[in-house]
């Protein structure tokens, strides 16, 4: 294939200069040669970063002011990373060791967001979970002050048999930030983890996030990504089931209003025999907006008896909304049960009429139906405080009608 020089835009020029300024010459070279991914790159087919990302703000300096917490969960243990700097945390609860790790945390792969995060992150927050951690752990990531480009990272080790619920919130001032966040998590044998990520950043912001998971034998992981803040959001979810009887419920919710674009891209690797996953995603779009879910299940040659089913359900609340769905199966084993499904539509007219016929006004009836649509994702998240907090965030979106 003939190579043509890529025409670089201002966002790419800034990014290259920033990467060079921290000595990440290889990453800079990659952007110089390939540019930001366009629709011709399969993984970015519906989220063309070259078009969508017009500029990149300067690299962040330490924050000297703070916005209000985006989400308070009563009783949670909170650690904050502001403008990429890990803040002093309060005393950790039993079973939690808080530390720092040098450099990026993600496994290198052919992905611009991953490459930039690894290159720009200089130290990651590390959490070692040694047993059953009672309080919810909240990692609060903020970008404060003037518009800034921030890369930050979290590394979590969950010991054999340990259990925890971790929620990450992304928020900050309402400037045109670009956040590039990473979470790397290993689950030991029979570990049980719920990991929730909620983007609550301002509409002017761009939110990139990558969640990478590695599961040992018998580990169970439930994840929930919620996009509702940033104008442009993309979360990569990369679970690897590397131990027999490991199971994941990878879930996600795009809530987009006029002018927003949100993308959840999942690639799950079933690496060994006898693992299972149930990825379930939902998108709700109103106004002129776009929601994307891409879900790929990769089953290795040895990974017999894999049981995996991807599902994406879209709900369109306006004629201008766009919901895009791309399921992919890449299966090398021959004795597996794998599937995918995708649905998209408006609110069910018969259901709406039933609620109206009982005297419930239209706006309230629609809200009930939308809540009902989402319940399948929220109900399995245990812990009433966490669940209520998430319900509150979603209700805010529903009733805000932004």
């Amino acid at each position: 294939m003939a190579k043509f020089p890529v025409r670089l835009g201002p966002a790419e020029e800034t990014l290259i200069a920033q990467l060079k300024s921290v000595g990440a010459d290889q990453a800079a070279e990659r952007i110089t040669v390939a540019g930001l991914p366009t629709r011709r790159v399969e993984a970015y087919h519906y989220t063309d970063l070259k078009t969508l990302l017009r500029s990149i703000p300067p690299l962040a300096t330490p924050a000297n002011e703070a916005s209000a917490p985006a989400l308070r969960i009563p009783g949670a243990y909170t650690v904050m990373i502001a403008n990429g700097v890990i803040q002093n945390a309060s005393t950790a609860p039993a079973g939690v060791i808080v530390g720092k790790a040098e450099g990026g945390v993600l496994t290198n792969r052919d992905d611009a967001i991953v490459g930039v995060n690894n290159a720009l992150t200089n130290s990651a927050l590390s959490l070692t979970l040694e047993g059953s951690v009672d309080p919810v752990i909240q990692v609060e990531r903020r970008i404060e002050g003037e518009a800034a480009h921030v890369a930050d990272a979290l590394k979590v080790f969950v010991a054999d048999g340990a259990s925890a619920t971790i929620i990450e919130t992304f928020s900050g001032s309402d400037a045109a930030h670009v956040g590039n966040h990473a979470t790397y998590m290993t689950l030991g044998k029979n570990a049980v983890v719920t990991h929730v990520s909620v983007d609550l950043s301002a509409r002017a912001a761009t939110h990139f996030s990558t969640n990478e998971y590695h599961l040992a034998d018998g580990a169970r992981l439930r994840t929930l990504v919620i996009h509702l803040g940033a104008g442009l959001a993309r979360t990569n979810v990369y679970p690897t089931l590397g131990g027999a009887d490991a199971h994941t419920d990878i879930t996600g919710l795009n809530l987009v209003s006029d002018g927003q674009h949100a993308d959840i891209t999942m690639e799950t690797h079933h690496a060994v025999p006898h693992t299972s996953s149930q990825p379930l995603f939902k998108s709700i779009a109103r106004g002129r907006s776009k929601a994307v879910v891409q879900g790929k299940l990769v089953v290795a040659r040895d990974a017999q008896k894999t049981d995996a089913k991807f599902m994406h359900q879209g709900l369109m609340l306006s004629d201008d909304a766009e919901i895009l769905s791309k399921p992919e199966l890449e299966i090398y084993a021959d004795d597996v049960v794998c599937g995918h499904g995708s649905t998209c539509g408006k609110l069910d007219e018969d259901s709406l009429f039933y609620l109206l016929s009982r005297g419930i006004p239209k706006a309230e009836a629609e809200t009930m139906l939308v809540r009902g649509f989402i319940a399948e994702l929220l109900d399995p998240v245990e812990g009433s405080e966490l669940n209520e907090a998430l319900q509150g965030v979603i209700d805010g979106w529903l009733l805000g009608r932004q």
Partner: protein, 253 residues
């Protein structure tokens, strides 16, 4: 003369280009139960949907007065607040919406529309428990999402329970007997009869006379080809059961 609870004057309605109601006239005074019988496809269920305000149907002519007030310009929720209740032939399953949440929203929305305050949670719970007990709707059913996984009989019992809670001035029962065995039919009928109080009126739409042994009507109307073609007392239903609808013409179902 007292204002009828329901007065339908020369009602015509169509779905797309097909005219289904072709001049319905009906007056139901307070406290009376009227039955509408007719073969499948005669337009009986369409009448119930048009009364409740389903969007798919277009009223081309006529008036519908509920307690003297024209309801045709009202939204379905406003009709409900004005006192109309439709017990669905096929109650809709709504996953993700808890039955109790739905009941509370419905009761409070109607109270609000009538300028009454919201029910407190204990008062609401007590009302639901009382209404549920009469209709064998147990707390296990109430914990499930609305109508989801309910058997045919459970769905119909839940409909009548909603009616008991919402206390409409006019209840339209659309084929409430369909899909019910004899035991369920008795429970449902008992629930309906308990709501006959001399003021509340009912329009019972049915294909079979069987239901009318349990819910005894004051007047029976025969519906054929989009209009009422004969009216009489409850013996008319027995005659229909014996002779069928053939003498009323139209196509056989």
């Amino acid at each position: 003369m007292t204002t009828p609870v329901l007065e339908i004057r020369n009602l015509h309605a169509r779905i797309e280009d097909r005219e289904i109601l072709k001049g319905v006239n009906l007056i139901i005074p307070p406290g009376q139960v009227h039955a509408i019988m007719g073969r499948n496809g005669s337009g009986k269920s369409t009448l119930s949907y048009v009364l409740a305000g389903k969007e798919d149907y277009e009223v081309t002519e006529g008036e519908v007065l509920l307690n003297g007030e024209n309801i045709l310009e009202m939204e379905p929720d406003e009709r409900a607040a004005a006192g109309l209740f439709l017990a669905f032939q096929y109650p809709i399953e709504i996953p993700g919406v808890a039955t109790m949440t739905f009941l509370k929203a419905a009761i409070n929305a109607q109270r609000k529309a009538r300028g009454e305050g919201e029910l407190s949670t204990p008062d609401f719970m007590r009302l639901v428990k009382e209404a549920g007990a009469q209709l064998n709707v147990d707390s296990e059913m109430l914990k499930r999402p609305l109508n989801v996984g309910f058997s045919g009989g459970e769905k119909k019992r839940a409909e009548i329970m909603q009616m008991a809670l919402l206390k409409p001035s006019l209840a339209v029962l659309d084929e409430t007997d369909s899909g019910l065995d004899i035991d369920a039919l008795q429970v449902v009928s008992k629930g309906v009869n308990a709501l006959r109080d001399g003021q509340r009126s009912m329009l019972v739409i049915t294909h079979y006379q069987r239901l009318l042994n349990h819910i005894v009507p004051d007047v029976v109307h025969v519906f054929s080809d989009g209009r009422i073609v004969e009216s009489g007392d409850k013996d008319l239903a027995l005659k229909l059961e014996a002779e069928g609808y053939a003498s009323y013409g139209g196509e056989a179902a």
